[in-house]
Amino acid sequence: MIWSISWKNIWRNKLRSLIVVIAITLGLLAGVFSSALMNGIIERRIRAAIENEVSHIQIHNKNFMENIEIGYNINNANEILDKLASFPEVKHVSKRMKITAMANTPSQGTGVNLIGVYPEKEKQVSSLYKYINDSSGTYFDAKKKNSIVVSQKFADKLNLNLRSKVVLTFVGTDGTLTGAAFKVVGIFKTSNSAFDEMNAFVRFDDLARLTNFDTSSAHEIAILLNDKNQTNEVAAKIASAFPQQSTMTWLELQPDLGMIAEFLNLWLYVFVIIILLALGFGIVNTMLMAVLERVKELGMLMAVGMNKKRVFSMIMLETIFLTLTGGALGMLVGAVVVYVTGETGIDFSAYAEGFSAIGYESIVYPTIGIDYYLGVTSLVIITGVFASIYPARKALKLNPSEAIRTEM
């Protein structure tokens, strides 16, 4: 009964309640949508980082991460690869050489991370090859010796075109300088220009031959899993299987991404809490009006025997129903908008240069997890409860005999 009275009471002043409901709806829509937008940007960035740059897990020689030297290699790399193949969670693996080199053309010179790969294996682990478009060559399709795939950024810096030659100089395993001319066979461009600028790719065998590197060994083993959520447990398994090596997850390899994701998660809630706080004051105000204009009626109800608990519950339920109506509507509209824009994407290419300079894509796909919706729903309920306390207490303070006498 009290439930139904409360619900009906909300609609006594339709316009006023509707305004509150719309305010809550819009507030939550704004909150949910912008949260999904920010989350979408970060998720894409993390996905791009995993797909193009770090994979889920990497194995190195323990000294390698501190000091990229050709001698800090994983000498039983092939053995490890074989064993990893028997892990059911592991989807693909690829081993790499990784050395620093000087790249020179007749006019320019620059340093670069030279990554030696087995193209077929590498394509299974890294999506980088997808960032070479039809007019900018291929990812080592032709079986020519001393081919190099570079980024657009790198090519621009050194005035390189497809089929241009660049001379690479690096230190061999014996400590002497060595090098060769490489021919550009592919030019890629990812959304992360800092990554692009630093890295260039050659065949593992070419690099091993030039440096006298043992081909059964490697500097880096990149591992792609079937499920990103298993990263930590699989990493632990790998670490205990190969204790002489260093095993790192994408989060350890790119700690900034983890920090951003964590900070974002916190921020998204802070954001919604601020919105709800503002809405909460509006709700309190509305309910206070609703109580004050019903003083006589509330007095009558107390006079005829409605006790304090029931009066309090009635006003409290009214506030919560009002809040939840707006809340449910806001979440629904928010979810629909997030879903639709999440499918179509929102094009920020007008600002894309700024985005890609820090590694972000220009088309944003808003997305947010179900746990966020659940979290916000709880916050909405909490807001309703808190907003109801003051008006409900106001109603309790009424003295029935005076309330009935009140002139209105």
Partner: protein
């Protein structure tokens, strides 16, 4: 049998600033089955007295006993339950919950008393019939005339099976035709069901129907006539 006994009742408002002696030493008692009016000029203390009788206000001094239970020193929370189970109220206006239908308004009291659903609905229909509103059960108060609303209020007041019904100027907002209908219904309930009614009024036609008329002035009873 005595339903109400009042001894040396006083009510002083604003004691600290400018005290108003609204009720100034009243001794009275009511028997079961009375149909009694309280009259007196505006400000004479009728409402104040009725509020204390109904347990809506506490006396500054004196004693009120209802069915041998002393209510004058009950706590407000005890009084709420006492009112619910012992006293029916009809006010001048704002008697009904606007979002409920007439029948739901009558049922409301029984619901507070936790009656089973079927009994509640049955009694509400009987009471609607008793106040001559058969067929208007599902109308909301806003769709009823002032007189009809007051009749629903009487039905609501009866619903809890109270010891007596207090009505503070129940006809003040009604035209003469509605006043007469309401009074007839109250009188019939009094005669046939032995319901005790205590009401205040300014209306001479209402006073005429009363079997006992208590006149108050300046918070004191100046006459108490039985007809």
């Amino acid at each position: 049998m005595k339903v109400i006994e009042i001894k040396n009742l006083h009510k002083i408002y604003d004691e600290s600033t400018v005290p108003v002696h609204a009720v100034n030493g009243i001794d009275l008692s009511y028997e079961e089955g009375e149909f009694a009016a309280i009259v007196g000029p505006s400000g004479s203390g009728k409402t104040t007295m009725l509020n204390m009788l109904g347990g809506l206000d506490s006396p500054t001094k004196g004693e009120i006993t209802i069915n041998n239970i002393k209510i004058s020193d009950m706590k407000p929370s005890q009084l709420i339950d006492f009112r619910l189970n012992n006293i029916g109220f009809v006010f001048q206006a704002y008697n009904l919950i606007p979002v409920l239908t007439a029948k739901e308004n009558v049922e409301f009291i029984m619901q507070l008393q936790k009656w089973p659903k079927e009994e509640r609905a049955k009694r509400a229909l009987e009471l609607m019939k008793a106040v001559g509103l058969e067929g208007r059960e599902n109308s909301r108060p806003g769709k009823l005339s002032g007189g009809q609303q007051q009749r629903v209020a009487v039905a609501r007041a009866l619903a809890s099976k109270p010891k007596f019904i207090l009505a503070d100027e129940p006809t003040a907002n009604l035209d003469s035709k509605s006043t007469e209908t309401l009074l007839d219904i109250m009188e019939k309930l009094n005669k046939e069901e032995n319901i005790t009614f205590i009401f205040s009024t300014h209306d001479a036609r209402v006073v005429k129907k009363a079997r006992r008329v208590i006149t108050v002035e300046d918070g004191k009873v100046i006459s108490d006539e039985n007809k």
